[in-house]
Amino acid sequence: MPASTALRVVAFIVVFGLVWEVATVLLRPPDYLLPPLHSVLAYCFAQWQVMLKHAGVTAHETLLGFGAAIAGGIAVAFVLNRFPRVATILWPSVLFAQITPKVAIAPLLLLWLGFGIESKVLIAFLISFFPILINAHAGFQSVDEETAELARSMGVRGLRYFIRFQFPHALPRIFSGARIAINFALVGAVVGEFVGSDQGLGNLIILAARLLNSPLMFSTIIALMGMGALFYFSVGMFERWMIPWHVSYRRTLQAGKIGLQDA
């Protein structure tokens, strides 16, 4: 993330916080509807160890689900691309899994897998799997004809073609999918915790709602936003490190140096 972007994000947060604080001080809404920012921050500060413990649980579930979605999405995309016959059988089941509303079956998954982290990981996985799969598959399919011919002229086939040509070619798309998927996974974990859990940020939100504890509610929401931002930018940084050659990172170059002529 360039420094100017970071600065704008910070500026936005500061303005947002100011508006919140001033509005609550001036308009005095009941505390259980919208507490002033300073009391939320004070609550956060006092309870940070508790918050951190629950955030850790949610992060754990999210990352396990996300990791499984990355591995599974790429693996399934590989099979779909590589074995067209298998693909004709597999696509309908993949689509079926996608049209099934994951949030709606969350209670069922809890019933099956229990109230531990397994059910949350599974929901996080299911909800973040599809963006990875679709993007990886599109990436594998989109190697141009000439590059494929070049590989064949060098006698490159099979797994070597996948590793040396298809996979690097698909990486930018896989990362696009991952940027979407990481926050999907977080939503999945929180939904799982809503439905039934004894820990995690989703559990805290349900608790806060029952107790009408709005400082806890807002603290948890802020924690979730912070976690989402951290995940998202981590994926971005990893992407930048993995594919520094990609077109989206070439801004530093003068346009004049790029002289590819398409014809």
Partner: protein, 270 residues
């Protein structure tokens, strides 16, 4: 010289048909017969759609003909030829690899020599086309002409027996094109691979080739086979070489009646 002394490549009765989307069968090539000698530079000239590219792919074993055979080094071609080098119209460089590793891609995919040896060979070639010191750059940091030079190095680094070039310079500006034609001639004279060079630029064909094969019609057939008896190195200098100009005229005279029939316009060459 009539007919190559010792053909490395024989194209015998090659025919190619395609099924279009609407299910119609279209013939792209009809009864192509050619013999090409070891180390010969053959240019294929013809207007778009006469099947030049298709013929190139068939010769390389990347596409199988509907009918007929290609014999390379005494063996019938049934898959990609082993010692093949290809240059396309676009550079087709892998954007995640540096200039150097784009060249060594060829040798590393073929497991030829140690990494150090591959590197040395690639650097030597890059040096020869004026890209010394560009090895660590990425393709997008290079101009179109430079990228195509890298592509040329990649096609030659493993010392191929057969080099296929599909309109390799047609996307470049005129001056860059001339420079690359000179580079190509120089490198060809050094390594002497057999070259099949597709172009629609008559000047380019006579400057580079030992023999110009004119393809025309739909489906494409060989309408002329013109040997260019001009010594090397020619230096891509059509403008100051009346001999080359005479050959260019001859090729055009064969090409033009065909053009009139299909209504296409031949661009001025040279």
């Amino acid at each position: 010289m009539t007919g190559p002394a010792k053909p490395i490549l024989t194209i015998a009765g090659v025919q190619q048909r395609f099924a279009t989307r609407s299910g119609e069968i279209v013939a792209a090539l009809n009864n192509i017969n050619l013999e090409i000698a070891t180390g010969e530079f053959v240019a294929f000239v013809g207007i778009s759609g006469c099947g030049k590219t298709t013929l190139l792919k068939i010769v390389g074993g990347l596409t199988m003909p509907t009918q007929g055979d290609v014999i390379y080094k005494g063996e019938r071609v049934t898959g990609p030829i082993k010692d093949l080098g290809i240059v396309f119209q676009r550079p087709v460089l892998l954007e995640w690899r540096t200039v150097l590793t784009n060249v060594t891609l060829q040798t590393s995919m073929r497991d030829l020599g140690s990494a150090a040896e591959q590197r040395r060979l690639a650097e030597e070639l890059l040096d020869r086309v004026g890209l010394a010191g560009y090895g660590d750059r990425y393709p997008w940091e290079l101009s179109g002409g430079q990228q195509q030079r890298v592509s040329l190095c990649r096609a030659l680094v493993h010392k191929p027996g057969l080099l296929l070039m599909d309109e390799p310079f047609s996307a470049l500006d005129a001056l860059t094109r001339e420079q690359l034609q000179r580079d190509l001639e120089r490198m060809w004279l050094r390594q002497k691979p057999t070259v099949l060079f597709v172009t629609h630029d008559v000047g380019e064909a006579v400057c580079l080739a030992d023999r110009v094969v004119v393809l025309a019609g739909k489906p494409g057939t060989v309408v002329a086979n013109i040997r260019v008896g001009v010594g090397r190195a020619r230096g891509a200098d059509l403008l100051n070489n009346p001999q080359l100009q005479a050959y260019a005229k001859e090729v055009r005279s064969v090409l033009l009646p065909q053009e009139a029939k299909t209504g296409a316009v031949l661009t001025k060459t040279g």
